[in-house]
Symmetry: C2
Subunit: 490 residues, 2 copies
Amino acid sequence: MIVPNWLHQRAFLTPHRIALYEGEKEITFSELHELAKKKAKQLLRLGVKKGDIVAVHMKNSAKMVEIIHALQYVGAIALLQNIRLTREELIWQLRDSQASFVICDHAQSLQPMDNDIQLIEWAELETVPEQEGMLQTTYNLDDVATIMYTSGTTGKPKGVMQTYGNHWWSAIGSALNLGLHMDDCWLAAVPFFHVSGFSILMRSVIYGMSVYILPQFDAKKANEIILQQKATIMSVVSTMLQQMLRELNEPYPSTFRCMLLGGGPAPRALLDECARRHIPVYQTYGMTETASQVVTLPPEYLSKRGSAGKPLFPVQIRIEKDGKEAKANEAGEIVVKGPNVMKGYLYREEETKKVLKDGWFYTGDIGYVDEDGFLYVLDRRSDLIISGGENVYPAEVESVLLEHKAVKEAGVIGIDDEKWGQVPCAFVVVHEDEVVTEEELQQFCEQKLAKYKVPKQFYFVNNLPRNASNKLLRRELLSLLTGEGRSDER
Amino acid sequence: MIVPNWLHQRAFLTPHRIALYEGEKEITFSELHELAKKKAKQLLRLGVKKGDIVAVHMKNSAKMVEIIHALQYVGAIALLQNIRLTREELIWQLRDSQASFVICDHAQSLQPMDNDIQLIEWAELETVPEQEGMLQTTYNLDDVATIMYTSGTTGKPKGVMQTYGNHWWSAIGSALNLGLHMDDCWLAAVPFFHVSGFSILMRSVIYGMSVYILPQFDAKKANEIILQQKATIMSVVSTMLQQMLRELNEPYPSTFRCMLLGGGPAPRALLDECARRHIPVYQTYGMTETASQVVTLPPEYLSKRGSAGKPLFPVQIRIEKDGKEAKANEAGEIVVKGPNVMKGYLYREEETKKVLKDGWFYTGDIGYVDEDGFLYVLDRRSDLIISGGENVYPAEVESVLLEHKAVKEAGVIGIDDEKWGQVPCAFVVVHEDEVVTEEELQQFCEQKLAKYKVPKQFYFVNNLPRNASNKLLRRELLSLLTGEGRSDER
């Protein structure tokens, strides 16, 4: 299916509408189009071609939005990189994806770079002459637009291939759920390198909607923008919302119509407080593989609080238990079908086949659907830890710990944390003839892992709980701490 | 691409929202789903199967909406028939489409029916026992959902095949243009057997939006509904809007946000009056082959009044002249591309190929695009006459006239009419040895043509203007009347 390039069509249809607010700056769709077109021609000059994988290593900014659209004009695939990753993690992604370029705010932190990967610093790109060439004024919805890495069960990060169609249907599904007002403005304080932030940019050009960019989250500033009626919708994770409530002394104006709350289960107390303060919270469940939200709970369903809600219009969900569809209220694996489900994992056909069957995506998450069709998420897949909205995969942290010569076995779980929701915590079995301290392990991890992945606590134990086939039982680890049995509540 | 059946998904997601208002009656999506499901099972009992072509010959009503959704549950293709057609015209369509059933309000007017076509009267269907069977809970967007007949250049009506995808993308394109509010209600006073009315029903289930059904247009009643804030959007043709303005003594409330004006060029005076009275008119251009609107002009573009506007987001248009793209302000054929363009003409591969090339649909209409990208429609295709929102194809009327033994040649054009916008008018050359009166021809036409197609005036002439290759020059006919040269204004 061929559709017009979204920014191109937007600049044609509604040239004078504001696309981006950034500080005092306003950029219309027509201006954004011109800026992105110029950048595209500069990228052409540097040798970027249609189909190339180009990493983007930038902080939220209008400049980053320009680059994203410039890559779409060139027809290159954007690999969105989490700027909090260590150099080692980043380079692993670049090699794995066979990216040929990295566009970044500052090159220094990424040097030295592999010979076959070209580093392009924003400031440098600004000075490159333009080269005329074919810009992509249409998309094939089946083409891959973006790659974002995620880990999953194995601990090895995998590149999720999201197509233009995935982003399109995600945006449409969201509009059919939240509605679409001419004066909407979406406050973006979640990173554009995550699908939660990236999807705001796609909605912007598809809807013709303004985005208010915050380079980094600031609770006071975010409240200010909403109170001044400059934004009608905002995407948050629990820890952001908690900070905003702490700072808030007056009600939000009625123009503010949606606080889209994602990134893991929300504490009940937080939802209660929002209801009390008339903040229109839409809880949502989604993942990189589904190009953002797939299930959302509108604020009017007070009695269903704690549920993730019902699927977006183009999406179907079902719960599978022992290969069969589960009954109402029976827990099983959450399985999702819809046009926003990813094309697959980059260069990983086998792993793709494991999770994508007949159009259904096996999330690995556990949950149930009640008799009214509302989804309740019980457990994120593979003991996923969500810390301040960032995904931490235990297996990934464990495999780093096992690289340390003193570590014989390692198990990582999330423990509750008031500020971040959860933080990772490690259980370590040391080799008989070795000695190691908590500080040493912490430093070791910091060299290899983004800060939010580094365990905040280390427990040294004699052995780890395992089942008969020697599989680590991570959920039993928690009971080592609390002295209680397996904890099923969440 | 597979998506959930729209009504099925709606009844699951927002069961308690009102789907239909009809008089004092309110029907929720959940109730509509139950009603349609029941009808589907009754149709199964009568032998209706997936893939069957089933004609619907009904007046706007909740019953008709039930039938439309019931057919989608069965997976049958609905042939929407204009109830103003003569029995002869209807039967021609049934034979041409190879329809196997006709569902109607009253069977009497359609009898006697061909042996291989089964007439199902609503009242009779109500009493049929249900039969269990597979209902279609998903759609393939490539499957044909509906057939609507239209004539075009040749005068022979052709069945336009509209897919589920056509209706889906049309609804989405419209939402991206007009926005989507939780409290929207669309006032439907245009026939559901036309795409202008049918598309309202599809938007209803896709958006989760209420529809207020008027069984037939009534200017006073329509104003009343809007003034009582019961509708926020309405679809009209010029003659309806004119009547409503004549009856209107107070301003519409601000909750009324869109008067979607289609069905042919709008008189300038009407647009001026609407602007003066702050009625938010969205002019629109579309046709059966594009599953409703493709180009729309929002009310804020005062300076572009008279233009049809810009394309919907998923749509591209271009003007072609001598096989090449025309320059700005240069007139040529209007060519349209987008996922709402029909699959083709039923059983007419050759005719389909003539108008569908490489995804581009050749409308046959003449127009230009100005330097800002706004479309101006100069001439509807093949001298199409639009009378009160109904399409009248001159060639079709001419071919009926030629069936009369006294008629040697016939030419039909539209002449301006205060009430209907245009009405058909015939020029007739009589055989040398024959005699005929205006009344005789009128009666002859009334037997074979819907009333709105019957010429309101007959002129008897010695010969008709033709070009060198003997092609009838319909536009020259007008100058026979006015004594002027070719008239290019409209």
